[in-house]
Point group: C2
Chain length 182, copies 2
């Protein structure tokens, strides 16, 4: 196979195939780099934030929740979807307050990831939150979660052992470890 | 908020909202742990494999490709979707042959992740591939990719610096680093 230097596909048309509450699905007609036509099924997602909240005693605040799509209870860092026009830092603090009742005095960006770039536009902004104080926003009533506070070293170990199923949690914890020099 | 010990949602019904080539989207009516009803939009995905192919000279084979959903060219480890009934190890070797033309003499499991458990059932099996030899399967003609061979240490550094956008690639490289004692 030749290795083309131009890899970009041109989108010829986009057909809305599903419009929902969280997800929109479009079917794109694209022109491949060699001029042939192909189709792509794409989830349009508003983007998200995920936050590693680190307490002064070096424990991380995590949430356990049931995920229908994964058909299991997962252990994840607090996370949520961006609201229209919302700044990622603002969203990070809002999600912390809604999910675990804490406000972040300090937010540091850890980077960002596409969880599944083959078919979803979702981009997750990752943060480390410290200087945590009691939040002022109401807790989200729709979320059934159990809060866990675990030592950072244990969470890192668990992530490295491949024992955390949620991809963004592994990535964010490993990036936080690097920032913290662990 | 109380912290219920039973977090599991009961699926009351599933309505197929979209049926496509790669993706199926269902809208579920669920019963929350407190008995109230809610809705979930779920992508049904066949699952995937992603592989860190490590050459004897300690270089990793990566692929650059355009991702419509992310609207950018990404740097990723070889990966692909499971075929019906296919064993993940078989799929890992098939994808290596189709994408980079190499057969894995040795495949070691690194774990697995849900890239976005909030709305997709996709589960990615992660592998480290070594003892690489020339593949016998034909290369996939539909994929426009550029193959890159980069030293493992550089890829690890890039992943840790938050400079890789693809979540599975970061996770797999970091898990491989641990297995290899780097």
């Amino acid at each position: 196979m030749s290795e083309p230097t131009n890899l970009t596909e041109k989108t010829l048309s986009a057909r809305p195939a599903y419009r929902g509450k969280l997800l929109n699905l479009d079917v794109l007609e694209v022109e491949l780099p060699d001029g042939r036509a192909s189709q792509r099924e794409i989830i349009r997602h508003p983007g998200a934030v995920a936050v590693v909240p680190l307490l002064p005693d070096d424990r991380v605040v995590l949430v356990r929740q049931f995920r229908s799509a994964a058909d299991q209870v997962t252990l994840e860092i607090p996370a949520g979807v961006l609201e229209p026009g919302e700044d990622p830092e603002q969203a990070a603090d809002r999600e912390l307050q809604e999910e675990i009742g804490l406000h972040a005095g300090k937010l540091e960006r850890l980077g960002g990831v596409f969880p599944s770039p083959a078919y979803t536009s979702e981009y997750i902004h990752l943060f480390l939150a410290t200087v945590l104080t009691e939040g002022s926003l109401p807790r989200d009533e729709e979320e059934f979660i159990v809060i866990e506070r675990l030592p950072f070293a244990d969470v890192l170990q668990t992530a490295l052992a491949g024992e955390i199923a949620d991809s963004k949690t592994i990535t964010a914890v490993l990036l936080a470890a690097r920032k913290l020099g662990r």
